[in-house]
Every structure is written in C-alpha cells, then in structure tokens.
C-alpha cells in the first residue's frame, strides 16, 4: 500500500470520522443498554441511605422492627401550604420530573434561589416516623448546587423539628477527595445533634470555614468545614437554609410542630 495514499487529507478525515462514529455508537449503546440497571443501583443506594439515617436514630431500628406501633411512611407534601397532598402517590411521584412540569413545578427567580436549583417541584416526598400519633422523626429531601454538580441528599430532624438527626448525600458529582468528602461518614456524624433554628425561628445552621469554636454559643448551629471544599460547603449551607426556609419545608415543619403540640 502506498504510504501517500494512507496519508492523504481525504483519507485522514475519513478515518477520523469513521473512528468517531464507531466509538460513539459503542459508547452510547452501552450507556443506553446499562441505564436501567444503573438506575436500580442508584435507587437502592438512596433507599439504603434513608434507612440508615432512620435506623441510626436513637434505637429506632428496634422500635420499627417490633410491634410497638412505630411506623415509617412516605408522604407527598404541598410545599406552599405544608399540607399532605394525598392525591399524589409517594412511590411513583418524581420530584425531578415535576420540577420542570408546567403544572407541578415552579421556576425560581434568581433572588429567591439561594440553592441555585432554577426550578423546583411544588410537591415533595417526605418520610415521617410516627409513634402514638406524634411525629418523632422527619426525613426531608434536599438538593442544591455545589462546586461542580447538584448535590442530592436527605436531612433528618428529630421530634422537636429542630435537632438534626442525620444528614446524607446520595447523589453528587463533587471532586473526589475534596467536595466528595460530603459523603465522609465521620463528617456527616458531626451534624447529629446540631440545631437548625434559633429561638426566634431563624434558620441558623451553617458550615464554618475552619473548625467550630466550641466555646461560642453559636457552636450548636455550626459544623466544621471540609478542607479544600469551600464552595461545596457554601453550597451545602445554602441548600439547607433554602429548604428549611419558608420557601422550602417551612410551612410543612410548622404544621407538624402544631400537630405534635396538639397531641397530649
């Protein structure tokens, strides 16, 4: 074969094009073919993380497995009013699809969007643990922009709807080793017992840039920052503050607080 023939411009372009075409078919068909399995894995991972939070909370694992009348149930909640939206099925309702749906979602203007999410669903699926008709634990889905991705997680609050019972992230694309440390079990553990609201009802929870000054009275609202992940940490603070505000789960938390107070 003549070398000049292989090296001609047309030939070079043709080979480049064909290699790209074949490779893209291989890559995209693998991705499409394996997507259902990967989605199932992600879903299982998410469920495991919810259960780990719930079971980790003050011996709930034993209570939930026994016949003590303690129940864990998912509910769809209307975020604007805080009421249950029982016409929506918590299993099939998909908040991510709803966020961009003209009827189920709303677009957030820049000045009302501290978590940087653009759109959000008007409804959300929360998990409640009830004991003797009192809600003793709520698990709230939260998400917001970090440094490189949207971070999806769950925040669990105890029966006072103020004390953090757990925090977890089940999906994000933050840099492994830096922002990716939001999955670090020890760091997530340090959230437990922190308060999210002060006495006046203002959202105070935050990640501080360095380490928490334990002598300060604010330390009950503060968590240590992660090294090299300033923007990820700022994103976590912003998303938690957004979802705990009146634009997020505020009305729902208020309703649960009232209904808990009415119970003897």
């Amino acid at each position: 074969m003549a070398k000049s023939h292989v090296e001609s411009r047309t030939r070079t372009l043709l080979v480049a094009f064909l290699v790209c075409a074949v490779c893209s078919v291989i890559v995209s068909s693998t991705s499409v073919f394996l997507e259902p399995r990967q989605r199932a894995n992600r879903e299982r991972d998410r469920e495991e993380k919810i259960l780990r939070i719930v079971h980790g909370h003050e011996g709930l694992a034993d209570l939930l497995s026994g016949l003590s009348g303690v129940t864990l149930a998912a509910h769809v909640v209307d975020l604007a009013t805080g009421d249950s939206a029982d016409h929506l099925d918590p299993v099939s309702f998909d908040p991510r699809r709803a966020a961009i749906d003209p009827l189920l979602g709303i677009a957030l203007p820049d000045n009302r969007d501290p978590a940087g999410i653009g759109h959000r669903s008007r409804f959300s699926v929360v998990y409640q643990v009830e004991s003797e008709r009192r809600i003793i634990l709520v698990v709230l889905p939260v998400h917001g922009s970090g440094y490189a991705s949207t971070m999806y997680g769950y925040l669990a609050l105890g029966g006072d709807l103020n004390t953090v019972a757990g925090l977890t992230f089940f999906e994000h694309g933050e840099t492994p080793g830096l922002g990716g440390e939001i999955e670090d079990p020890d760091w997530l553990e340090s959230w437990i017992g922190k308060r999210v609201f002060d006495e006046a009802g203002k959202v105070r929870i935050e990640i501080v840039p360095d380490v928490v000054d334990l002598s300060s009275s604010d330390s009950i609202y503060q968590v240590d920052g992660l090294t090299g992940a300033t923007r990820t940490c700022d994103g976590v603070t912003a998303l938690l503050r957004y979802w705990l505000s009146d634009d997020g789960f505020g009305p729902y938390l208020e309703r649960v607080r009232k209904s808990n107070e009415e119970m003897p």
Binding site: V6, T30, R37
Partner: protein, 228 residues
C-alpha cells in the same frame, strides 16, 4: 502456543513490568490499593481496556494515518474506558463507588497508550492481545501485591476477611494508619522494585548521560519515565 507468544505474554510481568521497570501507571497504583478488592477490580478493568484497545488498534493499524494516530488511539482507548466504567456501575456498584474517578482515569494511564503506540501499531492482532494481557498481568501483579500489603497492615484483613483481629475489636493487632493513606503505596512499590532489581540486576538503570542522547527522540513512548 508458540514460544514467541509465551514470551510476549510473560515478558511484561517480571522482566519489563510496566510499573516496576517503566514507572508507568503509578498514579492509579497509589489511589486504588487501599484494599485488595478495589485493586483487583482496577486490575480487571485495566487489563480489559489494554486487551480491547490493543486488539482494536492493531486490527486497523495499517489504515491509521500517521499524522492523527495518537488521536485515533486515545479516542478508541477512551471509548473502551467509558464502556468498562458503565459496566462496573451496572454490575459492581459498591466497588465502582470506591474507585470513583479512577476508572475514568485509566484513559490517562500511560501503560494503555504506551502499549498501543509501542506495540499494537506494529504487530498483528493476536500478538497485540497477548501483549495487552501480559502488561495487564504485570500491572496486576504489582497492584495485588501493594493492595494485599496495604489492606493486611492497614486494616488487618484481606478482601474484607479478618486476618489479624484489631485491638479495637478485642484482638491484638494495632493497624498501621500510614498503610491506609496513599503515600504508603510509594513505599511498598519502592520495596518491590528494590526486591526485583536485587533478583534481576539487569533492571538497574544506568546513570543519565550528561549530554542529551542523539537518539532520545526515537525512544519508544513506553520507555519514557515520570508520567502518571
């Protein structure tokens, strides 16, 4: 199998080990060897990519124009890496979460591009696959050794099975915290190289000449050192 084939397969394991002699792929060897399970998965992933990319590149080696050969090679390697990454995410979810970006980073592993450029471009498919397999095995031998040492002394277990019961669990073994951090892989690899070069003194490098070699540009890519 002919003697040449066996040589192609076994030469990269000890004589021309990609990590121990050529110092390629060290980056991933540091990152994924905290436990034996992640090291093994990485070995399988790298070996699969090496075999597939060597086979594919060798099969079209006469059609690749010289001017774009590196781009063509890296495009094909990147495609195989994505396929392997997707398969791991579907069938080995837990391990793939631990390996995180390091599967994707196989594309920057110099062993793969090195073998494509130095071997697959000049040899038939069968020999290229054997060369890929051999280099994959050479990489694996080092990773498995490092992974075993680090898991055994860092966590007192192998593949998750307890070998030395830890003090914190009521046993006698005090885990070496250093073994759980990536730099320890440097020490273990250095130890392996020392061992290998004591057994095979021919692998000891000659001191660098003071004046640049006239033919330094024509050295095969796989011989260049200091790449990740």
């Amino acid at each position: 199998m002919s003697t040449t084939s066996i040589r192609t397969l076994t030469r990269p394991v000890f004589e021309e080990n990609p990590i121990a002699l050529q110092m390629l792929g060290v980056c991933s060897a540091l990152a994924v060897t905290k436990s034996l399970a992640t090291a093994l998965t990485m070995c399988i992933a790298v070996t699969a990519v090496l075999c597939a990319s060597n086979a594919a590149i060798s099969s079209i080696r006469r059609l690749i124009p010289h001017s774009i050969r590196l781009i063509v090679q890296i495009t094909m390697i990147a495609s195989f890496v994505i396929v392997v990454d997707q398969v791991l995410k579907a069938y080995a979810w837990e391990v793939s979460k631990e390996l995180s970006v390091f599967v994707g980073l196989i594309v920057t592993n110099c062993i793969v591009l090195g073998r494509a450029e130095a071997f697959a471009m000049h040899n038939p498919v069968r020999a290229s696959v054997l060369d890929g397999l051999g280099n994959g095995l050479g990489y694996s031998v080092v990773l498995i050794a490092v992974g075993s040492v680090r898991e055994l002394f860092g966590s007192g277990s192998l593949l998750g099975f307890v070998m030395f019961p830890q003090v914190s669990d009521g046993g006698w073994f005090m885990p070496v915290a250093l073994m759980r951090s990536p730099p320890s892989a440097f020490f273990v690899i250095a130890g392996l190289i020392w061992l290998l070069r004591t057994v095979r003194p021919a692998q000891i490098e000659q001191p660098e000449p003071t004046s640049p070699e006239p033919d330094s540009r024509s050295r095969p890519l796989a011989r260049k050192r200091g790449e990740p």
